[in-house]
Symmetry: C2
Subunit: 373 residues, 2 copies
Amino acid sequence: MQANIGDVAQRAKVSSATVSRAFKHPELVAEATREHIIQAADELDFAVSRSAAVFQTGQTFRIALLLNDPSSTWFNAHVYEGLDSVLHPAGYDIAIYPIGTSDDRHVFFENLPIRRNADAVVIASFDVDSKEIERLHSMNVPIIGISALPEEVFDYSIATDDDYAMRLVTRHLLTLGHRDIGYISLDPPENADGSLHYSANRRSNGFLAECAEAHIEPAMLHVPNTSQRVEHALTQLFALDHMPTATCCEQDRLAVPLLSRLQRLGYAIPDALSVTGFDDSTYASEVGLTTVRQDPRDMGARAARHTLGLIARIDDDSEDGAERNNDRGETNDETAGETNNKNNKTDKTPPIHESTQIRMMFRLSTGPAPNAV
Amino acid sequence: MQANIGDVAQRAKVSSATVSRAFKHPELVAEATREHIIQAADELDFAVSRSAAVFQTGQTFRIALLLNDPSSTWFNAHVYEGLDSVLHPAGYDIAIYPIGTSDDRHVFFENLPIRRNADAVVIASFDVDSKEIERLHSMNVPIIGISALPEEVFDYSIATDDDYAMRLVTRHLLTLGHRDIGYISLDPPENADGSLHYSANRRSNGFLAECAEAHIEPAMLHVPNTSQRVEHALTQLFALDHMPTATCCEQDRLAVPLLSRLQRLGYAIPDALSVTGFDDSTYASEVGLTTVRQDPRDMGARAARHTLGLIARIDDDSEDGAERNNDRGETNDETAGETNNKNNKTDKTPPIHESTQIRMMFRLSTGPAPNAV
DNA sequence: TTGTATGCGTTATCAC
DNA sequence: GTGATAACGCATACAA
């Protein structure tokens, strides 16, 4: 029912190869014949079948995205958007594999459902252990990490230096004279895998290190990351011997609503209490939250560009291998040159590990500490 | 390099057909041979190539998702998540086509890049005109609408009744004694297509209708949907002859930060001023915003289930056509019965148009109107 | 610049 | 329950 490339060829009185070229490499087809072909295609309502084309190339044109948190999360949704902004125009689909629970995770790495069915794997926002990485590498496709550790195992990685960034936040509070600081982290609820620390540990480490250097003993609060997170945070804050003069939140996700609620409860912010976040996510600027800026969309886009590069490099390699059996007269010199070039290099170009530039957003939620007791 | 189905067949000493069956229809293969095959496959690190399998079936196993706003939007990110939660397990990829500008949009409908390359098209959160719909239908795949109008053109659609929901919000304010209400809508910025009204018009219509019935003349404010939206809204509010006693926002996206800022600016909410939103999106509950609940994730999931149904139905139809040429002894009766069944029906089952159940979330941002002038 | 021939990996059909 | 084989639609190497 649907016209195929042969039908078009017939109608345009050319071979199917020419039709194929007319679409894939228009510059190799004479202007006139190309127009003929396009017209015939239009009349038959023809379009190249991506499934067939993709199959033909041996590539899958599919990128697997491993996600621990829901894809609708501020971070993940923006990472996805950034990835897609580069990958979609390049003809790639993104398939999300949610591995939020340890079960999911186990099953995934056991079965490796993407084996032979993805040209690259992108891991966003969670850590992987050595066994998992080994499994992943057994697929022989590039592994890309976005805010994922340990970076050495990735062919490309990009991340915010959470530790350092949180140190800066802490210093900011210390400089303002705060000596009584509450740090609030969000703990994954029940069924999540205990080994998924993403950036959380690095952030609290940074905070603790900076406090230690300043000889300060902060209050460390742990709040379950549920819809009741603000209530839990408030409860724990009020349960302290005395309210801190500053609360340092692991994420904007908590800081934004907490800020709002504290104000509502009569706390003068920042006069009585300073609040900091991390991410510069939705509403952070609008509610005036001092925080660290992350641009997950940009991280996704950069990761995607490197992903394409890594995929292309792999293809080149395999082509080299194939080409050794059949010289092609005219372009022989060039080919030989290229091959030599590649042989002179090591097998792979070394992996790149980027760190995003850290930018603090100083806003109205932080101010000098009120006079201490 | 990568093992294919033939390699496995060889190693397991069976035919490739049996290997294929062992994966696709395990029940048709003897227990023993199947185990053999699985083992051989494991040893060779074999996995069925989705590209090849998909190609073979003729389906694309790809769903096109047309998006007007960025995919990271609260609404879109959740719709996507809902769709993917159903489609991914069913073996479908989702490809997002952003058509945010009129250019994008024009190019898309002109070229129809998804022709022959999607098994269904899902349109989220924007309206389509008759020409566009005609183009879409020329692809002969189901068209699904999520919060998109006009619903008649879709094979399945699901939407919130924005008009009615906003009427309820308005009534709530009227009941509280508010007579001086400001309605704030977010207008798409510069380069967006002027014809994209999504739900906005329906909401303001509902508001206006209810006000008219109550013989009230509201202040209608239009704010550009940029990062400065709150500043613009505040400016316009303060520029009014007198502050309204209630502001009715078209979206939480504005209402949440506006609420926060108004409090910060010293407005007692709801004593001096009531604020309402629409969506029940991120932080709405945490800041205590009275709003209308929407569940885009659920809408996406429902839409996805119907999408699969629609695709399956199309497949059945074409199979029927094919099967007329070759009877198959044993199952002949059944087949005949089914075919008759289908012939008794009309070509298609009638489209379904669902309306989500509306639920208002009454919270602390609304209260009785302060004594009027 | 174009045509011919072939292969990509899987699945469905049919015979056994 | 299993094997042989023909598609599926396209892209490429090579010949012309």
